[in-house]
Amino acid sequence: MRQMRESGITFDFAEMKSVVRQDSKADGGHECWSGIDFRCVTATGEHLWIEIKNFDLSRFPPRFRGGKQREYVGKISSKSLAREIRDKFLGTAAYLGLTGTLERQPILYVAIVEPPRAVDKALLLGLSDQLAGFLQKRLPWTSPASLIVMSLDEWNKIYTEFPAEKD
């Protein structure tokens, strides 16, 4: 059982062919600059890059919840959440490109966004489209990438062999 925890969510990656925790040297990553959370290759060869944005307030002490809620609303309304998720992708892509370790495989960038309250899929779809717009102009050194934003619930329904749960 290979469990990896990030932002209050624990993933069971036992069925993954490989997993790199991007910000940890010990797990095959680097600490040069900010990037995505996980680079994974599934048993069937899908390359998944995973970024987790967990705004679930229950994991914070009550006195911090108001601030976290405001942070989420501010990020959504200013599009800074979309930019932050984009920058994580570009950070990792840049590092791998510069070190010559970027594999020329199609990548699916999965942003798992857990908002403070249950969110409509329409908003996830909107965020996906916004991010796709940001990433549309593919730089020559990046791999062909597509992107989808999903909630943890959606992740568990799509990637049933890699279950994840909140603390």
Binding site: E46, D120, K121, A122, L125, I148, E154, I158, T160
Partner: protein, 366 residues
């Protein structure tokens, strides 16, 4: 045919408003009941489930009362005119058998109940005339304490079609219903004196800021002044026409505390960016005492309402669902989150699921 009218307890709300409605064997409805809120009432559902019909019935009733109040005599407004129907027969539920052809339209407005049974066989059928007679027989002055008019904004932007419309409507049998005529009458009314105008100054300023220029009425035709030139309203963006319509209704005094606003699909032609301000204006109107009825197919309108509404703002969502017997079932909800099944959201869910399948190459586990 007698009205079974009686007084009911008065409401705590400062202005009379549509409190309830029951429809039996009327258009899409075998039987349906509504309990409205004085604030914002939102009708959602598939096409052909009768959302607009409910608004038109309510509008017709209120138009009658306000006409009667203004003229102190029987009103000549006819339900068929409001619906644009050829005959009363068309207003009966389509699949009715002959034996069942007795319908009812009943409700409560301003603390007063009214009810009217009808059938298409009645030779003397005149819904509004009878209703006026009914109100007139009561000794109480029904028309004091703020009975006010109703405004119906149809989905077509009549502000772009005002020139010559009224004379054409009065003289020729054209295929426009009464709501289109009434809105043009309001739009062409003179503006209030500036000292009168503006209980709505804040809202009007917000709306005008969204327009490409000032709205100008010359003769019976509206223009927008852009720089030094005037642009005819039909050349202005549809979304701007919507905003200009609402602003004009405020400036001519058609909307006041105690009036009712019916708006059929305000999202038609409106860029989603403008919906934020439009919903803001509607909420301010509701808080000022305008009862509002909306039909919508727009996720953005619904979401804006959900995000902007305060906890103590009265709002109710009515879900219109087709039944197996070709009728319509209506279910009320007090929050958007409770609305289930939400046909608008379900369409987005379906789009999202298809997008996930396209991106991941996988299908969701059920």
């Amino acid at each position: 045919m007698d009205f079974q009218g009686q007084l009911s307890v008065s409401t705590e709300h400062p202005h009379p408003y549509h409190e309830s409605l029951t429809l039996k064997n009327f258009t899409a409805f075998e039987e349906a009941s509504f309990e409205f809120v004085p604030g914002i009432n939102v009708f959602i559902g598939e096409n052909g489930t009768g959302k607009t019909h409910v608004m038109k019935v309510l509008y017709g009733i209120q138009t009658l009362v306000s006409d009667f109040r203004a003229r102190k005599r029987r009103s000549s407004v006819d339900l068929t005119e409001v619906f644009g129907a050829y005959s009363q027969e068309e207003l009966f539920r389509v699949s009715d058998t002959l034996e069942d052809r007795v319908g009812e339209i009943a409700g409560a407005f301003g603390g007063r109940n009214w009810a009217y049974p009808f059938s298409p066989e009645s030779s003397e059928f005149s819904f509004y005339a009878e209703l006026a007679a009914f109100f007139g027989t009561h000794p109480i002055d029904l028309f004091e304490s703020g009975w006010a008019s109703a405004v119906y904004i149809p989905s077509i932007n009549m502000i772009a079609h005002t020139e010559g419309f009224l004379s054409t409507f009065e003289r020729f049998d054209i295929d426009f219903d009464r709501t289109t005529r009434d809105i043009v009458v309001y739009l062409l009314s003179p503006e209030l004196r500036s000292s009168e105008v503006f209980i709505w100054e804040e809202i009007s300023n917000q709306l005008q800021a969204l327009l490409p220029g000032n709205v100008v009425l010359e003769g019976e035709r509206f223009f927008v002044s852009v720089g030094k030139s005037l642009l005819s309203m039909p050349l202005v963006a549809e979304g701007s026409q919507k905003i200009a319509t609402l602003d004009r209704l405020l400036r001519v005094g058609a909307l006041e505390p105690g009036t009712t606003l019916f708006w059929d699909e305000p999202e038609v032609g409106l860029n989603p960016k403008l919906m934020d301000e439009l919903v803001k204006a509607l909420i301010l109107l509701a808080r000022s005492g305008v009862q509002i009825f909306l039909t919508t197919h727009s996720y953005v309108i619904l979401k804006e309402l959900d995000l902007q509404i305060a906890e103590d703002d009265p709002i109710r969502y009515f879900l219109f669902e087709p039944t197996e017997s070709s009728g319509t079932k209506v279910t009320p909800f007090d929050t958007l989150a409770e609305v289930h099944p939400n046909p608008i959201l379900e369409q987005y869910n379906d789009l999202y699921d298809r997008e996930i399948t396209r991106k991941t190459g996988r299908k969701k586990a059920q």
